[in-house]
Amino acid sequence: MATLEVLDIHSFYGSIEAVKGVSLTVEEGEIVTLIGANGAGKTTTLNTISGIIKPRQGRILLSGQDITPLPPHEIVALGICQAPEGRRIFTRLTVLENLEMGAFLRRDKDGVKRDLEHVFALFPRLAERRHQLGGTLSGGEQQMLAIGRALMARPRILLLDEPSMGLAPLLVREIFRIIREINAQGTTILLVEQNAHMALSIANRAYVLQGGRVVLSGTAQEIRHNPEVRRAYLGEVS
């Protein structure tokens, strides 16, 4: 049984059917990436998993349990936490308070304290700026904070939406190195990316979304060598 199973979901973004029957699975310990162009339905898929958007059709199972009807905060309680697109950190809360919000549902004070140290070890720059307001951070630091904040929930599955967006190449590489490190420490990751090249370089498996549907899936290796993908997403001229 897969950890996360998305079964034929149809979801609307406003009045547009942005996801038209997406199915995917994520196994324990994997990095799975969802790639595709702008408007392919990647973010809507993630938000449907997180419960922010309710699908018109289809089901989402976490270790076999149907989580489709649950409100977002209960889905977080079951172990799925998201670092949303555009970082969406709380600009008027301090760095430390942002991280505390990630751990909102946790009651184990010692564990939270240890995870806080862990996040600060992953992102030393956040430790330096812990009492600064979130809004004063640079784009890269905000992305680190968004990932750190989601980690504070100690999720079984971490959903990352476009972590490379708007960052300089050097920072992108840094962020992806840390994503791989988080995975190596035991967190399963579902990664949405427009930067297909970077995403495929760290993922185990990939799904390619187009017009709200999965048009291709397989191991990252297979997808990388698919001529269609090379042309459309990896910027190769054939």
Binding site: P71, H73, V76, R88, F90, T91, R92, M101, F104
Partner: protein, 352 residues
Amino acid sequence: MRKRAPLDLTRSVITAIGVTLLAYVCLRAALTVVRGSYSATTYASQLIFGLAQGGIYALVALGYTLVYGILFMINFAHGEIFMGGTYVGYFVIDACARSGLLAQKPGLALILTAITAMATSVTMAVLLERVAYRPLRRAPRLVPLITAIGASLFYQYSFRGLFGTTVKVYPDVSLHVGRIDLISGRYSIGSLTVRPVYFVVFGMAVVLMAGLYILIQRTKLGKAMRAVAEDKDTAALMGIDVDKVIVATFALGAALAGAAGVMYALYNKQVTHTMGFIPGIKAFTAAVLGGIGNIPGAMLGGLVLGVVEATFPTLLGMDVQLKDVLAFGVLVLVLIFRPTGILGEVLSRKRA
């Protein structure tokens, strides 16, 4: 550049009017002071009363500002939340007076009254949120506003229907500390008559505001409230139950209004089903004056409005009856010259 000309013109005309008004106010005030029409003690006693009244406005204003900060709506039924608490508080303190508890243990009776008033206000506000506002959360902004006015009338006429139109009067309370009666006493210091109740009310208001501020800044609920105010979807993604936080916000504002109602009734003893209207609008004015959505702003706005209302009629040589005109004049002026209020941020920046 040319396109902006009409706007610049309007702007400068408005500024000219504003400066003229301000100059007029200053001149009148200066004249009154120089002429010495009123003694320093007059101003002192007005200032003391203004601070107490301002404390009440500030506590009620916090209810408007807390809700606005989270839902971007004006809860115009908040004045009725204030009225409901005060009204039900009356029944408790009246029963205490009849049973003799008020005479024997006035402190206990007052605490009982305050707790009942706060509980009533909280219940009314939570019901209001659940029935009238939650279903409309995704409706256009005008819809909950109209609903709020409807809810306000609903509460007013419910109290009228249940308890009639006769004016209820809070009984006199004597709460002695040493030889000073904190609530009903009047003492002369030179030519100044001092009522300790105003100090008590102001002090209580400051304590409650400090408590609220610590709650918002330090506690988990306070941080969650700030997170929800900034971004509801992301707060939900962090595991925060947004609906619960919104209910807590309404409850918190209502508890302050209920407490303010009892404090208000200690020196303004008459209770009716319409008593929430004017203080409600004044507190709304205070919230706008300080910057709607801004918590320290509501506190400051309340105190400023209370003091302005108490001292300006004398300073400007106006009839005291015109103090309401003055208060709402302040509202209009703020909306024209500084719509973001004293401590307010630019709304567009806040929403971004």
